[in-house]
Homo-oligomer: 310 residues x 2
């Protein structure tokens, strides 16, 4: 066990955490970023990021992540691969406990992100970024004049279906129940779209394809009927889970578990901030993550200055 002392500990190495690291590094804070796996977060799973401004031809999630990491390191950010298991809040000093060490800091930015819920069927993991997508806003435009499927029945599934209707030649909306959970006016719109076919009481049992998605195996849960549906893409919209379990209720969360902050990214505990997908907000994108990360780092600076006042 080693013990550290920092101005700021950033937990999570996706675009929110890396951007906070760029700003904090440039501000010459004593800062470290702790990341469980590899930097980049969800961004790493994207074959082609088309909507992050500055890359007219798009950029792979891997390369964008690597560029952000190099930029942060250039400004002095230290990145350590370790898994955080506990936060023991102050103030004035917060303690972060990982699987193999502990660290104390005056400020903490939680940027642990969120994961899209997966179906857990064969073929799914292998085809993520190759036809399996969790984000129509990100990837929808890639499916112009192609046949795609959307899995789910909530607001996101319906909104994504409406969105995809602008591109795809046909959209199969696959829902395991006999009615949607999403807003009534979204349901009405979806049911009026000519290119949409709804498959009620139906679940996906596997996703097939070699280089990319080729077809889904579907099963009607009422009749037991099994059939094969050829599509070139499938959007899985069955929920998103923030990585907040490790906080064990320490900070206020919304009903889906996302951390609630103010506009300056502050949680109710002085010196603890949250940024990126882990935060309760309307749109989870790289664009909004970098905005959050910059704002959080700036709030940390102001917080540290106010702490010095005494």
């Amino acid at each position: 066990m080693s013990s550290w002392d920092y101005d700021l500990i950033i937990i999570g190495g996706g675009p929110a955490g890396l951007t906070a690291g760029i700003y904090a590094g440039r501000a010459r804070l004593r800062v470290v970023l702790l990341e469980k796996l590899i930097h980049g977060g969800q961004m790493m799973t994207a074959d082609l990021v088309e909507n992050y401004p500055g890359f007219p031809e798009g950029i792979s999630g891997y390369e964008l992540s690597d560029r952000m990491r190099r930029q942060a390191e250039r400004f002095g950010l230290q990145i350590i691969s370790t898994e955080v298991v506990r936060l023991e809040p102050g103030p004035p000093v917060h303690r972060v406990v990982t699987v193999d060490r502990e660290a104390t800091a005056a400020a903490v930015i939680i940027a642990t992100g969120a994961n899209y819920r997966r179906l857990g069927v064969p073929g799914e993991d292998a085809l993520v970024g190759k036809g399996v997508s969790f984000c129509a806003t990100c990837d929808g435009a890639l499916y112009r004049d192609q046949e795609v499927a959307v899995v789910g029945g909530g607001d996101t599934a319906l909104t994504d279906t409406i969105f995809l209707h602008r591109f795809a030649s046909k959209i199969h909306l696959i829902h395991r129940r006999d009615r949607f959970r999403g807003a009534k006016y979204l349901q009405e719109q979806v049911l009026n779209l000519e290119k949409v076919q709804v498959h009620w009481d139906t679940v996906v049992t596997d996703i097939q394809g070699a280089q990319g998605v080729e077809a889904l195996s579907l099963k009607n849960v009422k009749t037991g009927e099994v059939f094969r549906l050829p599509v070139s893409g499938v959007f899985i919209t069955i929920g998103i889970t923030p990585n907040t379990d490790w906080l064990k209720g320490l900070l206020p969360r919304d009903d889906q578990g996302f951390l609630i902050t103010d506009a300056e990214m502050a949680t109710p505990i002085p010196g603890i901030f949250a940024a990126g997908d882990v935060r309760a907000k309307s749109l989870r994108q790289i664009t909004t993550a970098v905005g959050d990360g910059a704002t959080a780092a700036f709030s940390v600076e102001r917080y540290l200055e106010s702490q010095r006042r005494g």
Copy 2:
């Protein structure tokens, strides 16, 4: 006079407006962006943008702006050079009046930005981006071990002085009065910094330099004494003015004139949104502008869907 009809009109072509354009274009909205001068906004004045994630070696404001514009146009955004003079709000239809035409749309995003207040002295305009800066967070790290000046006496002047203390060999804080306006605890910190020299009752009368800033001419307003101060950079922090005058009080503003929105970028008028520097918020950076622009475009999509419900 021609007359248009759009889903969305974006007013302003800085990073917030261009990002909203990328998202709205990808969503296949009928969208136009109106820009008074040239796209890019304040970003265009930056020689080197070092803290926009994705460019490890930095990028010129001009090139970043151009890349964002090409990306937006690739997704179908139409950009028109014209100056907006009036907004006649609905809902359901908002009318935008420019110097040479009119347009109607279901939704409007105001992204007209803000301008840093200038001293109005000889040499200032010519040396912007060449030693004259309005943003210590952006440019401070370029002045390591160099002598710089900060002009102003409010919170920003004091915070920037504290920030610059990490880099510069000496900071001259130039204030036209005999006391600061900024927060007391910031004043105390600044007065305790060893590398800071405060010039009370002093104004800048010109900025000298050929390729970059070389010196300032200063004048003590009480004694009339005039002297020359060699510095390699000057940070002018005497306020920032949002470009909201043309709105003539149509929308609620804070005491500095910035537009007040909720976290989804909505103003109180349904269908009218604001994004970027023009908005009341804690940090005005390209990072936060792109986050705002994406969120605003997403909110527009949801607004348009809700309008179709009838």
